[in-house]
Symmetry: C2
Subunit: 420 residues, 2 copies
Amino acid sequence: MTKHFNTYSEPNRIAEAVEALAELTEPQRPFTRLVFSPEFSRARQWLQERFEAAGLECQIDAGGSLIGTRKAPAASESPGKIIIGSHVDTVPAGGRFDGIAGVVAGLEAIHFLNAQRIDLPFDLEIVDFLGEELNVWGTSCLGSRHMAGLLTDDILDRVDQDGRRLGDEIERIGGTGKPASGPRPDAQSILACLELHIEQSDRLETDQIDIGIVTDIPGISRYSITVTGSAGHSGTTRMEGRRDALVTASDIIMTAREIARSIAAQDNRHFVATIGRIEVYPNGAATVPGEVKMILDLRASNEHSRDMFMEQLHAASLETSRRESCDVGIERISEASVAHMDDALRQRLARSADHLGLSHINLSSGAGHDMAHMSRIAPSAMIFIPCKGGLSHCPEELTTPDAIARGSAVLIRTLLDMAG
Amino acid sequence: MTKHFNTYSEPNRIAEAVEALAELTEPQRPFTRLVFSPEFSRARQWLQERFEAAGLECQIDAGGSLIGTRKAPAASESPGKIIIGSHVDTVPAGGRFDGIAGVVAGLEAIHFLNAQRIDLPFDLEIVDFLGEELNVWGTSCLGSRHMAGLLTDDILDRVDQDGRRLGDEIERIGGTGKPASGPRPDAQSILACLELHIEQSDRLETDQIDIGIVTDIPGISRYSITVTGSAGHSGTTRMEGRRDALVTASDIIMTAREIARSIAAQDNRHFVATIGRIEVYPNGAATVPGEVKMILDLRASNEHSRDMFMEQLHAASLETSRRESCDVGIERISEASVAHMDDALRQRLARSADHLGLSHINLSSGAGHDMAHMSRIAPSAMIFIPCKGGLSHCPEELTTPDAIARGSAVLIRTLLDMAG
């Protein structure tokens, strides 16, 4: 007979934790807990208290991630490590579950092991990876990039519009603020990295499946696009002489969408392109815009589609730039190739779901995750749980405590399985 | 023999005043002195000290304008009034002369009259009209609108994104914050309102003319455009299902520009349309934009052109709204009809320029000015002085102390002329 998921994980305790974190938001803009913000620091403090109450040994690592460790018994010689983690930062006006569900699920594993007085033959780390969401410095997954040795000086030296240097912000919240010289020194001893996350799409909900086992995480590339025209008085600058940076940017936004649509239609695999962030200077109602800065976010599970998109966008932008007499600069901010999840770990997750009587399917991730970076240095895998309508990165984002408890039970079963 | 303009006005003193005000700016963004900002309050304080040092009696009127009065001698029975004014607020990242030149020129008149110990048979008011530039509440010319009885509850009750109510801000800097019940009570006794301003176009510079005498100020209409789509995760929201508010807004921005170009080409008179301000929500790089708010600024010296533009824009927006599955709302924020400058005053200004040996031509204004509103309640006129390349509302805005002194001399000659 299969055990019920509630044997492993308590939906009520999960609901309380999600609710507590949901309250740590910018008051005017739920649910907003940007990395390095006061709300983020409060969430970190709350989480560390929870970690300590559950007996975890806490530290902030060099890359600013919060790690709570449940040590293997002293008897174990050079025990391996298993990481369960996700993140508590959010996008602006985001949701209550993206990232949060994974951290709360990790904490459930600790509660279960403590209650059952189970000693695992490996260290178990519950991790709040720093700044998984894309920030104003144009880089996501700060914590996992650092652990994987991918956070470079070039990224850390970036300065936001208020003059804040990224490296200094990491230092301020307890990291070193220095680049990683390589993967974390104990990378060889990491047996598995596991992450639970809401699906952020509607496949599991539509097909009424409990668990998605992620096969791969798409390559994400980000580019900054800067359009430079001439600012001028809106009343006295004639239509014909204008070099309007916002009109030019608008042309690029529409063109990018058209190219993306056409590539997505040709490509059976996942391809999306988004311009979600735009800053206009001087942004005065009576001034012809002089400069526009935008961030282009590309997700492709196919490098050919990505390269074809950028080639077409470059060509179209050159054309637009000439026609509108504005300069257009496109620069790559970051690029990550497709990350494949570990086959053996995926099989273990599937066996755990079977053991619990939970339905499961394989899925490709649409979004990026910390596991994309962790997979470069250690066996990594992810499970998805259903969320309502696939909505995410918005306040309507919704999953249930039961769905999180089911996923958490799969993680716990997998830990027990790996303990032998 | 004509007198030299330097007999009336001192370029060095003008340069010092312009420089002093230029330093009262947001440090990171010259030249920025937004109405109600700390920099604006410091400029007001500086100006009041200068007014008082020149013997003017200072007050902030109900609409928040700073008025320095040089009284007619007590002997004069119910003397009339002449107003010389402009404004010291700026647009974001604006210039050193737009508005400032006119206030400084007014102060020059006081210095001349004091030095020459001339008593005028009318009160002379030097006015810093409150908030001439378009602000975040979507309304320009706060001070002159109030004097003309045009600042309504509807406008004063507007709240910005930080929750600041416009009326409260006016009260905070010394006005009543209440709507005008009608034109200022002594409107009947105003003999003339005069304003000196940089041209903000390049006609005077190109033709090497000293003074432009303004014939009319265009009608300015402003509309808020709100586009509502659906926010979503940039990685998991497929291209096909998107309701991207920024793509939709981009279509409207480009369409508005196309319609404006075609109307400007048909219309020999002045027509321009600008979308200079845009706010995107949530403006996260990894989120499909859910909402966009923009301000459309229209300037027409012809109401038919304005109406035709809006008709075409409404039709095109409806089409875009359907195609992109986003809601598009267009609402009028403000509208002012074309304002004609007073013929008799214009003739006096021309005679004064002739007297000083300064070249002059008639010009239509491209921009809006406080005199557009003052002309509804009293005889009003403006003179323009040349500015480099016609650039304005940008840091490159440039005129010379001599050009301001020439214009100031024309105003002073006109005062002496009206004194008889």
